[in-house]
Structures are given as structure tokens and as C-alpha cells.
Amino acid sequence: MLYCIDCKVRITGNSDRCPLCDKHMPGAYQQNPEPKYPEYIPKVRSNRKVAKAMFISAILLIMLSAGINALTWSGSLWSVIFSAYVLYIWLMGLVTFKTRVHLGIKLVGHAISVSVLMLIMNVFISKTGTLNPVTWSVSYGMPIVFIAFIVAAVIIMIKKKQNRKDFLFYLLCLCVAGFVPFIIVLCFLTEPMLPGLIAAAISYLIIMGLAVFARKAIAEEFVKKFHV
């Protein structure tokens, strides 16, 4: 075993230096072949590079579209819609792969943000002078999005037996949101109303179903989530 005469201590491990005073002690490797701790091997963090490249290309695409839009002005602000698309895809990637929140929160977040994105697109695409600028997004877009996310949440719940209860709360949130397009459509009397009505009906059915078959689980979930 190695001995540091300055510190008057014995050294174990496979280094040739005293851990206390860094004194060099030749011949260590022969005497102590076993390293006490695993070697540190620096890793190249590819994740970060991808994230950076994504961010830069998103910014470049937005600037490029704005430039082309301005140079070839034809009366429509299509670059805004395009930018919204690009930003949304970038954010979606970031939120989905970078943040570590529950998948249920991500589902609710995406459902809401897709709806907002469609509203923005709708407003910018519609020609000025229309009485009701927001039509297709609430009539078709939002109901379809909410139905899709509710179905997705249900499928995940069926597949993820272990964590099924985790999604109850978020499924309820999605179902409550599922009524929103129908309410808007009713308020503005926008035609057609059918898709919104279907989304609301599905939401209602699921809420009723949960109330009948999963009342205990939901009650437990609420007790946990809201305990003071």
C-alpha cells in the first residue's frame, strides 16, 4: 500500500497521487490495480445540440417568411400564419421532449394551444369585412381537436393500466374544455353547430360515465390533489 510521507497516511485506490496533498508517488498502478470509484468519461450532449439547431432554424424560417412576405406583398399576412405554425412545432417539440411534466398535463396543454393556434390562423386568414371572422376554427377545428385529444386520453388510459388513475383528472379537464366550442358557437350563432355539439355530447357522456363507474377513484383523486 502507498504511503504519503507528508500527510503520514496510507493511500488506497489506483492513482499515483496523494488525494490530500497531490504528492506524486510513482509505481501506484502496480500496487493498487482496483480503482475505488468509476472513471469519469465526458459525454457529448447531443440533445442540447439538436435543441439549439431546432431553435435557430425556427427563427431563421420565421425571418425568411417575413422577408418574402414583405417583398412580394399581395395584401395578405400569410407569413404570420406560417410563423405561428413554425413556432408551434418548435414549442411542441420543446414541451414534449424537454419538460418533465405529466403526460396528462401535456395533453391538456396541447389541446388548448392547438385551439388557440387555429383561432389565430382563422382570424388572420379571413377577409376583412366578414361579420364573423371566427368560423371554421370553432365550427370544425376546435371540436375535432378536443374529440381527438379526449379519444387519445381514453386510449392512453386503456393502455396504461398501471397509471390509469393519474389521467382521470386530466381527462376531466379535457371534457370540460370539450364544451367550449359548442358554447362559443351558441353565443355567436355560427353555422354549422353539429361538430361542436358532437364534442360536447362526447364530453358529457364521458363525464357521466366517469361519474357512474369511477366515482370513488375520482373522489380519491380529488382528496389527494386538494388536501390541505
Binding site: M1, K8, R10, C18, L20, P42, K224, F226
Partner: protein, 439 residues
């Protein structure tokens, strides 16, 4: 890997295992303040006589699940508080990473707040402080190694010194002993001033620089006895001495050296909890001049132990901590508000009260059938980014291990500490992870 439940394992979690439970009084702070800068993670490791078989270790980790319901949990966010819920996923054992006590990535760890590692002959359990304190983690590690040796096929006899998989967990093991033993009444939290801070060159990528000294308990006890002190008093005083000796004179003159000493409260209340039940006190040393005498510091340390290491003093801290949790305004505010306030409060006050920590887990007694296969036990604290060394002491089979963890390249404190011990005639064996050579 699909794991089969061994027929020996008692799957009845008993009447006591709840589906979810609240974080205990001490646990509540950690999820809020933990981060890459300070993971609040510590490690207990046992070195065996032969190389570890990962498959058997994985099975052992799996088998302990019904026995330790408070460990196999995941933390979930409620509207007012975090809470723990049974984790249905598998905790995977992994090869030991070089970065010791890194803040645990719960997401990558299947939601678990502790990890099990293997390296050559060593089994290590790294625990996020929220689920338990050192004593709780020690019980788990003992059981894990015991179960591992059982699976290896060795004849084992627990002698009631280890929790085994054929038992059911008891309600006492899962209780929040703070709440149970707290008595209402006015409390005055002991006033502690901002402490001197050990500064140095940080490891830019973070990480823990480890230097561990091993020595005979007999020799250490004898030297401490010659100084008319207990081992913990002696080591705490030596830590303060090493910091005063090597510190920055100007800054030392302004702020005291506060040594943070955790206390296991189980013995005071006869508690069997496997969760957090530790309190703490400070041993405070003011710098006078360059003539720093060890004996003088030891006298001050002994005085602090005398005054503060007693139930009355510790209860004041406990009352204040529980009262903060029970405060209606605190309880009624949403989790994000609590997090904001706690974070701000912690970084402004609590974070700067201690110069260094020294914790003594005491002597680990193993049943003789297990002791044959265990070479030694080590306890390591995680290092805060940019911070000076903290010390963790544990002894087993007559060998005391004093492990320093630091977040800076400089190791003057450790050098002074161990040189002092060897000057007293104690034969010290040093091992390190040489973290400074990487950054």
C-alpha cells in the same frame, strides 16, 4: 426484464400501507429547494467480499418493495402540497455513476426518489432526503444487502437486526414522527447568524469531490478519550479547527464558523419510523486571532453539545418547524406560492447558516451471518455546487469512515483534518475520487 415475485416475499402490505401519504415535516422543504446546485442526496454503500451480480441485486430491490412502502413511491403535485403515492413501476439498478450524489432525475428514474447502484464489490443506495434520513436509508440498505446475500444462496439469520422480506411493514415505520410527537405551544426558534462560507474554485460541471479516511474505531476513541470528549465532539471540533486554520482571515473575522450537526430523534421518542426524524443544532465558533488552539475549540464544542444536544433545545426547533407547516395561511396557499416563498426564504436565510455539516450515523451492527460478507460501510453526503466540504461519519466492524464531500477543487480542510488525526497517532487510510483532475 420481467421480475418474478419470490414466494418467500410477504406481499401482504398489512393494514397500514396507505395508498398515498403526505410528505413529513422535514421532507416538505427538499423538493422545493433541491436542484442541480444541491440535490439533497446522500449515499450509503456497503462493500462486500465479492463482485456484485446486477441481476440478483435487481431481484433484491424488487423483493423489498412490499416491505418498504415509504421508499417505493413517486411524488405527485397536489394543489396545496406535494404527496407520495405508491410507484407501480420498477426501480432499475444501474452501474455506479462517477458523479456521486447527483441530484436525482426522478423522470429518468421511473419516478423513484432513490437509486441503487453497483460498482465492483460495492452496493450503493443514493437517497433523496425527502423520503428518509440517514437512519431510514441505513435500514433500507441493510435489508437490501441482506436480501441480496439471501438470493446469493448464503444461509442468513437476521437476529432481529435487519428488516426482512417475510415481515409486513408496521404503522410505526410509516408514521410522521414529527407530527406524532409534536406538542403545541409557543416556541422560539434558536437564533443563528449567517455563517462564514468556505470559498474556492468550483467544479464547473458540478460534481462531488470525495476524500474518505478510514481508521480504527478503537484508536479514534482512545484519542477522543485522551481529550476527554466523545468521538462526535472530537470530530466536530476538529472540523471547526480545520476550517479556522485554513480559512480566509478577513472573512473569518466577520462571520462565525457554524458547524451543522444533525441529531437522530428516534432515541428520544422511541420512534421506529423509516422516514425523516432528525433535527439539528449548531456548534458555533468565533475567530479571535491566529493562535488557534484545538483544545479551546474542543471546549467550545463540548459546551455547545452540553447546551444544545438535549430534548428541550431540540424541541424548540421541532415546534417551530411543525408550527410553520400547520399555519393556516401556509396551508391555504397554493403549492406554487409556497414554493416561491420557501425558495426565497431558503436562499436568503437557511442556506447560509451553516459553514459545514458533520453527521455521525454511529456504529452499524450487522447480524453475524451477514457481517461475514460485508467488508465496510460508507456514508457520503452530496456536495453543494461551489461549497466547501461536509463530513459524514459511520463505523462498522471496528472501522470508522470519515467521508468528506466538496464542490470545490481546494482540499485544505481535509488535508488539515486528516494530518491532525495522523499526528495523534491514528493510522489513517485515505481514498479519493480525484474529481479535481476532471475539471
Amino acid at each position: 426484464m420481467v421480475l418474478q415475485l419470490n414466494p418467500l416475499v410477504n406481499t401482504k402490505t398489512g393494514h397500514a400501507a396507505p395508498k398515498w401519504f403526505r410528505l413529513d415535516n422535514a421532507a416538505k422543504i427538499y423538493p422545493v429547494v433541491a436542484g442541480p446546485q444541491n440535490g439533497h442526496v446522500f449515499r450509503i454503500s456497503m462493500t462486500l467480499t465479492e463482485d456484485i451480480d446486477p441481476k440478483l441485486l435487481q431481484q433484491a430491490v424488487f423483493d423489498l418493495k412490499p416491505r418498504f412502502p415509504t421508499f417505493y413511491v413517486r411524488m405527485r403535485r397536489g394543489f396545496f402540497w406535494y404527496y407520495y403515492e405508491k410507484n407501480e413501476r420498477t426501480l432499475e439498478v444501474k452501474p455506479e455513476p462517477p458523479f456521486m450524489c447527483k441530484s436525482i432525475d426522478f423522470f429518468a428514474n421511473n419516478g423513484y426518489q432513490f437509486s441503487c447502484y453497483y460498482h465492483k464489490k460495492r452496493i450503493s443506495v443514493e437517497v433523496f432526503h425527502s423520503i428518509c434520513d440517514g437512519n431510514g436509508a441505513l435500514e433500507y440498505t441493510k435489508s437490501l444487502v441482506y436480501r441480496y446475500l439471501e438470493l446469493k444462496g448464503y444461509p442468513m439469520e437476521s437476529e432481529n437486526m435487519v428488516l426482512t422480506v417475510d415481515q409486513s411493514p408496521s404503522a410505526e415505520e410509516m408514521e410522521d414522527s414529527f407530527l406524532k410527537n409534536y406538542k403545541e405551544g409557543p416556541s422560539t426558534r434558536p437564533v443563528v447568524n449567517k455563517a462564514y462560507e468556505i470559498k474556492g474554485t468550483p467544479f464547473i460541471q458540478g460534481g462531488t469531490g470525495v476524500i474518505t479516511g478510514k481508521m480504527s474505531v478503537e484508536e479514534l476513541k482512545k484519542v477522543a478519550k485522551d481529550y476527554n470528549a466523545t468521538v462526535t465532539q472530537f470530530l466536530a471540533a476538529l472540523l471547526a479547527y480545520s476550517i479556522l486554520k485554513t480559512g480566509d482571515r478577513k472573512r473569518l473575522a466577520r462571520r462565525p464558523v457554524n458547524i451543522f450537526i444533525p441529531v437522530n430523534m428516534r432515541k428520544y421518542f422511541n420512534s421506529k419510523t423509516l422516514r425523516n426524524f432528525s433535527l439539528y443544532f449548531y456548534s458555533i465558533h468565533k475567530y479571535k486571532d491566529d493562535s488557534i488552539e484545538f483544545k479551546e475549540i474542543l471546549e467550545k464544542t463540548k459546551q455547545d453539545f452540553e447546551e444544545k444536544l438535549n430534548l428541550a433545545h431540540l424541541l424548540e426547533t421541532m415546534k417551530a418547524n411543525v408550527a410553520a407547516e400547520k399555519n393556516l395561511a401556509v396551508r391555504g396557499s397554493p403549492l406554487f406560492v409556497k414554493k416561491l416563498l420557501l425558495k426565497a426564504g431558503y436562499s436568503m436565510f437557511a442556506n447560509r447558516l451553516a459553514t459545514a455539516t458533520i453527521t455521525n450515523l454511529g456504529n452499524v451492527v450487522l447480524p453475524s451471518s451477514m457481517s461475514k460478507y460485508v467488508e465496510d460501510v460508507e456514508l457520503n453526503l452530496g456536495a453543494r455546487y461551489k461549497s466547501g466540504p461536509n463530513a459524514a461519519v459511520v463505523s462498522c466492524k471496528g472501522v470508522a469512515s470519515v467521508a468528506f464531500s466538496r464542490g470545490i477543487k481546494e482540499k485544505e480542510v481535509e488535508k488539515t483534518f486528516f494530518r491532525f488525526l495522523s499526528e495523534q497517532g491514528i493510522k489513517v487510510e485515505i481514498q479519493g475520487n480525484y474529481w479535481e483532475k476532471y475539471f
